[in-house]
C-alpha cells in the first residue's frame, strides 16, 4: 500500500466521525498544551534564577569560616575554628590570579542623617567590592584603598538609602551617624534592584574593619574573591586552601565556587522543569486513554469492514497499519493543535503578566510533539493488533 493511500484512507475514516475524532484529539491537545505551557514557565524560572545568580559574575569564590561537614553542621558552631580576619583577606590578595578580594561583614544598625533615621542592613566591605560584584558607582566614589586595619570613616549609600536620607539634597560630603559613629558620605551606588529578596539599594557600605567593631564581631562573615577568567577553579581553591591552612594551622574554612553553585542550582532547576513536564504528561496519559477508547469502539463498529479488507486481500500487517495510522493521526493532529494552543497561551500570559518569566523552549516543543506521536502509537497498537488478528470469516459474519 502506498503511503498517500494510507493517509487518505486514514483521514477519510477520521473525518467520517468528525466530532469524536475532534474530541479525542482535543484530549491530546490539552495534554500537549499543558506540557508546553508548564515547561515554558519552568524554563523561564530556570533562566531567571540563573540570571539572578550570575549577575555578580561567574568567576567568584566565597570563603566562610568553619568547615561544613557532610552532616551540614559547621564546626565553627563549636568554636573550634579560627575567625576569618581582615588580615586573612589581605593575605589572599597575594594570590596571583586574584583580581579582587572583598572582606564582608553584615549586620543591622540605625542610620541617622540630620533628623531622618532608618534602620537597615549595613555591609562592611573592602574597596574592591564594585569590581568583584559588577556594581557601579553613580556619583562620587567608592571606599578608597585605605589601610584595611584603620580605614577612614567613609560611607557609600545604596540608591534607595540615598533618597530616604537626603531626598533632593546632594548627599556627597554630608555627615551621617551609623550605630552612634560618625561617617562622611563619599559616594552613591547605581541601583541594583533586589536580588533573591535582598535589597542592595536600601543599604550603606562602610569599611569592613569599622563594621567589625560596630557589630562587635571577631570574624568576617565571608571573603569573596574574583579570579582571572580562564583560571582553573581547582587551582584557585587550592591556592586559597594553602594560604589559609598556613595561617590558621588547619583547614577550617568552607570554600564555595560560583561554578559549583551554578551546577547545583542548574540541576535543581532541571529537576523542577522535568517534574513540571511530568505533570503535563499526566494529562497526556488521559488523552492516550481517550485514543484507546475511541479506537476500540471504532474497531467494534467496523468489524465487517475488517473482514471485507481481508477478503479483498489485505494482509494482517496492512489492517494493523490502517488502524495504527488512525491513532497516530489523531495524536499528531492533537499534538500540533496543543502546541499552537500552548504557545498561544504562553504568549498571552507574557503580555498579561510581564513579570512572570516565560521561556518557550524549542526542545520541549519538539519533545512534546514526539511524545504525542509515540502516545498515538502506544495507544493505537493494542486495538490495531486486535483488528489485525481477527478471524476474517467471523469478522464478516459479525452483526
Amino acid at each position: 500500500m502506498r503511503i498517500q493511500d494510507l493517509l487518505n484512507l486514514t483521514s477519510r475514516s477520521l473525518i467520517a466521525h468528525r466530532l469524536r475524532s475532534l474530541l479525542t484529539s482535543l484530549g491530546i491537545a490539552i495534554g500537549v498544551a499543558a506540557m508546553v505551557l508548564l515547561t515554558s514557565i519552568g524554563e523561564g524560572v530556570h533562566q531567571f534564577m540563573l540570571a539572578e545568580f550570575t549577575q555578580f559574575g561567574t568567576t567568584l569564590v566565597g570563603i566562610n569560616p568553619g568547615k561544613a561537614t557532610t552532616a551540614g553542621t559547621s564546626m565553627g558552631a563549636f568554636g573550634t575554628s579560627r575567625p576569618l580576619t581582615i588580615a586573612d583577606a589581605e593575605a589572599l590578595k597575594r594570590l596571583p590570579y586574584a583580581r579582587a578580594v572583598v572582606p564582608l561583614v553584615q549586620g543591622n544598625a540605625e542610620v541617622e542623617a540630620g533628623n531622618r533615621r532608618r534602620r537597615t542592613t549595613i555591609y562592611g566591605v573592602g574597596h574592591q567590592m564594585p569590581k568583584a560584584f559588577n556594581m557601579a558607582v553613580k556619583s562620587g566614589r567608592f571606599l578608597p584603598d585605605d589601610d584595611p586595619t584603620a580605614p577612614r570613616a567613609f560611607a557609600v549609600l545604596g540608591s534607595k538609602m540615598r533618597h530616604e536620607l537626603f531626598a533632593k539634597e546632594n548627599p556627597l560630603g554630608q555627615r551621617i551617624t551609623i550605630g552612634g559613629s560618625r561617617y562622611r558620605v563619599i559616594g552613591v551606588m547605581a541601583s541594583k534592584g533586589s536580588i533573591l529578596g535582598f535589597d542592595l539599594d536600601d543599604t550603606v557600605y562602610i569599611p569592613a574593619a569599622r563594621a567589625l567593631s560596630l557589630f562587635n564581631n571577631e570574624s568576617l562573615v565571608e571573603i569573596d574573591i574574583m579570579y582571572a577568567e580562564g583560571t582553573p577553579v581547582d587551582k584557585v581553591v587550592k591556592g586559597i586552601e594553602d594560604i589559609l591552612k598556613a595561617r590558621h594551622g588547619r583547614d577550617d574554612v568552607t570554600i564555595t565556587t560560583q561554578a559549583q553553585m551554578l551546577e547545583v542550582l542548574g540541576s535543581i532547576l532541571n529537576v523542577l522543569t522535568f517534574a513540571v513536564a511530568a505533570i503535563g504528561g499526566i494529562s497526556l496519559l488521559v488523552g492516550a486513554i481517550g485514543i484507546i477508547t475511541i479506537m476500540t469502539i471504532s474497531i467494534n463498529e467496523r468489524t465487517n469492514e475488517i473482514g471485507l479488507l481481508r477478503a479483498l486481500g489485505a494482509k494482517q500487517s496492512q489492517v494493523l497499519t490502517l488502524f495504527l495510522g488512525e491513532a497516530v493521526v489523531l495524536a499528531a493532529v492533537g499534538g500540533l493543535a496543543g502546541l499552537l494552543l500552548g504557545v498561544g497561551i504562553a504568549q498571552l500570559l507574557h503580555i498579561v503578566l510581564p513579570e512572570l518569566p516565560i521561556h518557550i523552549s524549542m526542545f520541549y516543543i519538539i519533545f512534546a510533539e514526539m511524545v504525542a506521536v509515540v502516545i498515538g502509537i502506544l495507544a493505537g497498537v493494542f486495538p490495531a493488533r486486535r483488528a489485525a488478528k481477527m478471524d476474517p470469516v467471523e469478522a464478516l459474519r459479525a452483526e
Partner: protein, 224 residues
Amino acid sequence: MITLKNIHRNFQVGDQLVHALDDVNLTISAGEYLSIMGPSGSGKSTLLNLLGLLDRPSAGSYHLNGRDVTSLSDIEQAQVRNQEIGFVFQMFHLVPRLTAAENVELPLILAGIEPAQRHAQVEAVMQELHISDRSHHKPDQLSGGQRQRVAIARATINQPKILLADEPTGNLDRKSGQDVIHLLEDLNRRGITLIMVTHDAEIGQRAQRQLHMMDGAITHEQSA
C-alpha cells in the same frame, strides 16, 4: 483447477464438536459454473469461505492450480485472495464512507498500484457494469441492485480466475436479483469460474453443475 480431498471443518462450540464440513471431495475445472444449494446450516458458506482462503480446513487438502494452498502463510494467502479470487456477499459489504468508485478501487490500493492505472481500470470496469454514472455516489445513495453491481465490480477489478458468490441475490428484489445473475453469468461466459451459493432453486438450476449439501456433506450433484 480446484481439488478438495477429504476436507473436514470442525467448530468447537462449548463441549460439542460441530462438523460444518464432513469429508468433502470436489474437483472444479477452470471456467465452470457451479451452484451450491442446501438447507440452512448445511455448510455452504463454510465451503465457500474455505475455497476463498478465508478459512482453513481442520483436515484434508486443497490444491489450487496444482499448488497446495492450505499451508500458505497469511501473507501468501492474502496475495492469492487479492489476485486470483473475487468475493460477492449477500450483504454487499461496501465501505459506507467511500464512493462507489473508491470501493471498487480498494483491491488495487491494497496491491499498491499507481493511481493513474487504478483510475483507468476502475473506469473501465464500472462502464462495463453500467454503473459509471454512479461513480461518485456513496453506497447509501444507491439501490440494492446498484450496490451489488459495485460489489461485483470490486470483486472483478483484478481479473480473478474465480468468483465466489454467497447468496448474491439474497437481499435483492426479484428484478434486481435477475440482473445480478445475468451479470455474473456474463462474466462466467467470458471465462471466470463462478461458484454461487443460493437458496433459490430457480436460480440454482441455471448452473451447469448443481451441488446439494446436507449436514456438511455433498449429497448429490446434478448437471443442467
